[in-house]
């Protein structure tokens, strides 16, 4: 089953760019990617730029409305994701716990919809 690990983090809690803590966090991501390769887990993932670069859009009464920033006023924002192909939820949760941002926010683990049950 494929799982998406959505990385939500609170920018005020994350270490600031350039600090040794930031270096440690990035090192943690590097180590996580190496671990996935070593374990032969098929994976994909990206990090997102900050929410100050986000533009949100909705169609309201047939009219496109755009807005600067994310719609939801939450403290934790989507900052990146991984997609991992794994046998079960326990395995997915074990990997999710290795994502460095778990210490500064929340990792949401969601199975991907499978449109082709036979495939």
């Amino acid at each position: 089953m494929k799982y998406m690990l959505l990385i939500y983090s609170d920018p005020t809690r994350e270490p600031a760019y350039g600090t040794p803590e930031f270096q440690a966090m990035m090192g943690g991501y590097f180590a996580f990617n190496e671990k996935l390769k070593a374990d032969d887990v098929a994976f994909d993932g990206e990090a997102l730029k900050g929410i100050d670069t986000a533009t949100s859009l909705r169609i309201n009464g047939g009219k496109v409305e755009t807005m600067d920033g994310p719609f939801a006023e939450t403290r934790e924002h989507l900052g990146g994701y991984y997609i991992l192909d794994l046998p079960d939820l326990d395995t997915a949760l074990r990997y999710a716990a290795m994502i460095p941002s778990a210490a500064y926010g929340t990792i949401e683990v969601r199975p991907l919809m499978n449109y082709n049950p036979a495939g």
Binding site: M1, Y3, P87, D88, L89, D90, T91, A92, L93, R94, V109, P111, P117, A118
Partner: protein
């Protein structure tokens, strides 16, 4: 609780209805576990077992009981499940897998492997809501009906039905594996299982018997089952000890008028001494393994609190609560620590501690009862009366309320 094995003798004098009823009561968990292990889907397993039971009533009534009713039910449930999948038609690949596995399990005969440990760990998975874990365990492992579980939680039956369906759908949809966790997750997952068992046990005290099913006994059955399937685990033995020691006092917990009797004033002759000593035996075994844990500490506290004669060792109980804080740094444990400290003679420090946790505990009835008692002992009558009023207003058990009303009335003017 006696759970006799359905032996070969039973077809002599049991009607099909009685036989099925007994089988379902005693072996539903085992049959469910066997079906889920092959079908990998709890809802499908439950539907298939339901169909097989309906079919059993017809066939057994017409042709008499089969040689092994349990194996018969499993075979028929299995075939019903395959039929359903074939009719569904969309899951060709899944069907192929199932058929392959079906070949492997053919002629399993009467010897049904016991997969209930996997079933329990799945039902108690931390990815499910706590209440759903309790409900699902009662439904699938203990075989309570949805209606009975709804009664325990004071929920409407359809609401409970929806909760159970959601939990089963989450297990299937999120890919919660049907397996006993490996060593890396064992401790944490076992704790989740034992917590569910303990919640079932405490629900038994508040809900009382439901349709002849006593949840305290179901919880003891569950922890005995887990202990039998995974022996030599200190925390499992600790949980078994805790339940047995607590349950041994069941007959003395309320008096003839239904009023709750505190431990110190309980009639020792009404304690079940055999159960108490069995519980202490398990506790000794657990402690000898030198792998401490919260359930063992709670069992040790329960054991010390259940002195048959002479004074209670409150300083040691306070020390154990202090130790428990390392595992569970919660206000509830601090509340119990405060009560033990007061009993040990340190009333001032106990009141300080209650004051400290007060803000977190306003909605917790036992907190107000403890505050009332400690204030009364320290001679603060008016403050004690106010605390009793809060505790009485919040009591969920009428016996508790009546006990508190008596205590309030006994305060000096």
């Amino acid at each position: 609780m006696v759970r006799s094995k359905c032996g070969r003798l039973w077809n002599i004098n049991l009607t099909p209805e009685r036989c099925l009823e007994q089988l379902v009561r005693e072996d539903r968990g085992r049959l469910m576990a066997a079906l889920v292990s092959r079908l990998r889907d709890m809802q499908r397993a439950e539907d298939a077992l339901q169909e097989a039971m309906a079919s059993a009533l017809v066939h057994w009534g017409r042709n008499g009981l089969p040689a092994s009713p349990k194996a018969w039910l499993l075979q028929v449930a299995w075939r019903k499940a395959l039929d359903r999948i074939r009719r569904g038609g969309t899951e060709q690949r899944g069907l192929a897998d199932l058929l392959i596995r079906a070949d492997e399990v053919q002629d399993a005969g009467e010897d049904i492997p016991d997969h209930r440990l996997r079933l329990i760990f799945t039902c108690c998975h931390p990815a499910l809501e706590a209440k759903s874990r309790v409900a699902l365990t009662l439904r699938t492992v203990c075989g309570l009906t949805t209606g009975q579980i709804a009664q325990v939680f004071l929920d409407a039956e359809p609401t409970m039905g929806q909760r159970l369906s959601r939990a089963k759908a989450k297990i299937a949809g999120a890919g919660i594996a049907y397996q006993v966790p490996g060593p890396e997750a064992w401790g944490e997952r076992l704790h989740s299982v034992l917590t569910v068992v303990y919640l079932i046990f405490t629900a038994g005290y508040t809900a009382g018997p439901v349709d002849g099913r006593n949840l305290c006994e179901e919880a003891i059955f569950l922890v005995r089952l887990v202990n039998g399937l995974r022996p030599d685990e200190a925390e499992i033995e600790g949980a078994l000890a805790l339940l047995l020691i607590t349950h041994s006092r069941r007959a003395a917990r309320v008096d003839e008028l239904g009023i709750t009797v505190p431990l110190a004033r309980q009639n020792r002759r009404r304690w079940d001494l055999r159960m108490l000593s069995e519980g202490r035996g398990w506790l000794d075994k657990a402690i000898a393994r030198r792998a401490s844990g919260p359930f063992q500490i709670k069992a040790a506290i329960a054991s010390l609190a259940s002195v048959e004669s002479g004074p209670t060792d409150w300083p040691q109980i306070a020390g154990l609560y202090q130790g428990l804080l390392r595992w569970e740094p919660t206000p509830v444990v601090r509340l119990n620590l405060a009560v033990a400290m007061a009993e040990a003679g340190d009333l001032d420090r106990a009141l300080d501690l209650l004051h400290l946790i007060g803000p977190d505990m306003q909605d917790y009835q036992p907190f107000h009862a403890a505050v009332a008692d400690l204030l009364a002992r320290s001679g603060q009558g008016q403050a004690a009366r106010e605390a009793y009023d809060r505790a009485i207003a919040m009591a969920t058990h009428s016996g508790d309320a009546r006990f508190l009303i008596e205590r309030r009335a006994a305060l000096p003017d």
